[in-house]
């Protein structure tokens, strides 16, 4: 078990900086998810922690010990690769037992540990097979078992579920979370899927363009986004935005008047679809652009000036297209961002 500390850790390839120096303290036994769009530097961060990528600047510590220059084999981390990276010429048992074999664990001891690891991920009937004869989900489990088998200090998983179909993904998600809980290990998990991040994480680190946008629990990130990027990235449908002007503590924009707000100048109002309530006396108005029933609710797309916003309404609600709807938000459900910088204004 390990606490992982990144102190101003950054990465550049020649003149290209792909990761700005970032600070992060990952507690022992924490489930941390690195989330962000493609190419934002998630894999790079993880590979630096594993030692597969040299750290350009900064210091990496495991339990306070400086491991910045340590070879991957000396870091006692386990990694699950996106394509699993199973050794194709070895059976499932040999794949799982490889870290033990390399560490010169005796045969009997090794077999016992392989059995135990395979059991944890329900692989016992497949131990004699080769990876090519397994399904995607089974391969994924082999990769997990190989990581589990030698009780590493840190678990690293790089998009471990992205090659699975939707149903299996949901099932494996729960298994991974359960495994992490029951073993109490430090787990760092990379994904670009925000649902995965929200469901799994103790804490989420949201990255964009090699810069940390926000670090927090899933609830914090969802309820209190620090900037427009976070607000727009998290949530499905994403947060609604309406651009307008703030003056004298009041916000005015298309379809919005007389809304109390902090700050002045060009502001962007943000609110979530599920926080809205249809009300004839509401302070917000727009015309119905489209109606999208999903079964459990009906989403109404409203046109407010140049913006389209989503409202989550009762599943029976079916307004006519083109009619004007009024709605309102509860206290604290309207968030404001500086339009120019994207930063939250509180």
């Amino acid at each position: 078990m390990s606490r992982v500390t990144l102190e101003a850790v950054g990465k550049s390839y020649g003149a290209v900086t792909v990761l700005k120096p970032l600070d992060l303290d990952i507690a022992d036994g924490e489930f941390l998810v690195l989330l962000g769009p493609s190419g934002c530097g998630k894999s790079t961060t993880m590979r630096m922690i594993a030692g597969l990528e040299a750290i350009t600047t900064g210091t990496l510590r495991f339990d306070g010990r400086d491991v910045t220059a340590l070879h991957p084999r000396d870091r006692n981390v386990a990694m699950v690769f996106q394509n699993y990276a199973l050794y194709p010429h070895m059976t499932v048992a040999d794949n799982i037992g490889y870290p033990l074999k390399v560490a010169r664990v005796g045969r009997a001891e090794r077999l016992a540990q392989i059995e135990a690891a395979a059991k944890k991920v329900d692989l016992t009937p497949y131990l004699a097979r080769y990876p090519r004869d397994l399904s995607g989900g089974q391969r994924q489990r082999v990769a997990l078992a190989r990581a589990l088998v030698r009780s590493p200090g840190v678990f690293l998983l790089d998009e471990p579920l992205s090659n699975l179909d939707a149903k299996l993904r949901v099932a494996m998600r729960a298994e991974i979370k359960h495994l992490q809980r029951s073993l109490g290990v430090t787990m760092i998990y990379v994904t670009h899927d925000q649902i995965e991040a929200m469901t799994l994480a103790d804490r989420v680190v949201l990255l964009n363009d090699g810069v940390i946008q926000q670090v927090g629990t899933p609830d914090e990130i969802y309820d209190n986004p620090g900037n427009l990027f976070v607000a727009g990235f998290i949530g499905s449908p994403p947060m609604n935005f309406v651009e307008g002007l703030g003056a004298g503590g009041r916000f005015a924009g298309p379809g919005v008047t007389d809304l109390p707000c902090p700050g002045t100048g060009k502001l962007t109002l943000g609110f979530r679809a599920e926080d809205t309530a249809i009300a004839d006396t509401g302070r917000f108005s727009g015309t119905v652009y489209e109606v999208e029933p999903t079964g459990e609710a009906t989403y109404v797309v409203l046109q407010m000036g140049p913006h389209r916003v989503n409202l989550r309404c009762d599943k029976k609600f079916r307004p006519d297209l083109g009619t004007t709807l009024r709605f309102d938000l509860g206290a604290g459900q309207a968030l404001f961002f500086d339009t120019a910088t994207g930063q939250r204004v509180r």
């Binding site: 594993a50 030692g51 597969l52 070879h71 991957p72 084999r73 870091r75 981390v77 386990a78 990694m79 690769f81 394509n83 990276a85 050794y87 194709p88 010429h89 490889y98 870290p99 074999k101 390399v102 560490a103 190989r146 030698r150």
Partner: protein
């Protein structure tokens, strides 16, 4: 339409029959010579095997000849050592080239290949001088098996390197990385991951270099005299020693052919796998 296919099939068939005959007839002829007595040889030529008159005495004579035994042993040692050495060195070079950022990588690769471009005969004289001139006391590379083995490395390495580079490149880099994270050293990665996965390619490399060393004539005949002489070069000389005994000459030729054919037959399966290796990676 049907008839067209039939004709084209027939034509293809006849073509390959002709090709096979062209390549196999000399071998067959040699075999016929090797199993005839001296007296029979100068009788009426025939492509048919006369089973009654067949004799193995040429083979018996050759196999019990100490000179033949020595040359055969030399050839086996030189060809096998060369194949093993070249395969190991080329695999290491290919791995380094494939996985590490080396300065001037592309130029280096091209330079290695250019080493193979000049006709080997060009190097004959300088090599002869080197082999005889470089001395450690009484010892020089001239007429030693180690000299031939090293020399054949020079000629075989570029090709082997080129072939294995493609094979190693096709092994996903994540496998190395997974092994490193699992606690393996570079050497362990090479022996437990790269080597087994490159085995089809290594089989191809091994057989081709083996055959090259086995058949090489020019250098073997100039850079050896008695001790390290190989069977390919010894062939002609061997016969002048015992008089022009065509039957025994043919027997030696057949025996020289045999190991090469045997090795090829054994690894043929791997060669096919090696040539299609890129398609089945992962």
């Amino acid at each position: 339409m049907n008839r067209g296919i039939l004709y084209s099939r027939l034509l293809t068939f006849l073509f390959w029959i002709a090709m096979s005959a062209l390549t196999l007839l000399p071998v067959w002829w040699m075999f016929l010579v090797s199993v005839r007595t001296r007296a029979d040889l100068f009788g009426k030529p025939s492509f048919l095997l006369d089973v009654q008159a067949m004799t193995w005495e040429n083979y018996a004579a050759v196999l019990s000849n100490p000179t033949f035994q020595k040359y055969m042993t030399n050839s086996l040692i030189v060809a096998t050592s060369n194949a093993v050495l070249v395969s190991v060195l080329a695999l290491l070079a290919a791995y380094a080239m494939s996985r590490f950022a080396l300065v001037g990588k592309d130029n280096l690769f091209f330079w290695v290949l250019t080493n193979r471009m000049a006709p080997p005969a060009v190097f004959l004289l300088p090599l002869f001088l080197m082999f005889t001139g470089l001395r450690l006391g009484d010892w020089s590379l001239f007429d030693t098996r180690i000299g031939l083995i090293l020399l054949y490395c020079v000629f075989n390495l570029p090709f082997a390197f080129w072939l294995l580079q493609g094979i190693v490149d096709a092994i996903p880099k994540e496998l190395d990385e997974a092994a490193y994270v699992d606690g393996a050293s570079t050497f362990t990665v090479l022996t437990t991951v790269i080597f087994p996965l490159a085995r089809p390619g290594l089989a191809v490399t091994g057989i081709l270099t083996w055959v090259f060393a086995w058949n090489e004539y020019l250098f073997a005949s100039t850079l050896t005299s008695v001790e390290a002489r190989t069977i390919t070069t010894g062939l002609a000389e061997f016969v002048t020693v015992t008089g022009t005994n065509w039957g025994q000459l043919a027997a030696v030729a057949m025996l020289t052919l045999a190991p090469a054919a045997l090795v090829l037959a054994l690894v043929q399966r791997h060669i096919v796998a090696g040539l299609t290796f890129g398609a089945v990676k992962g």
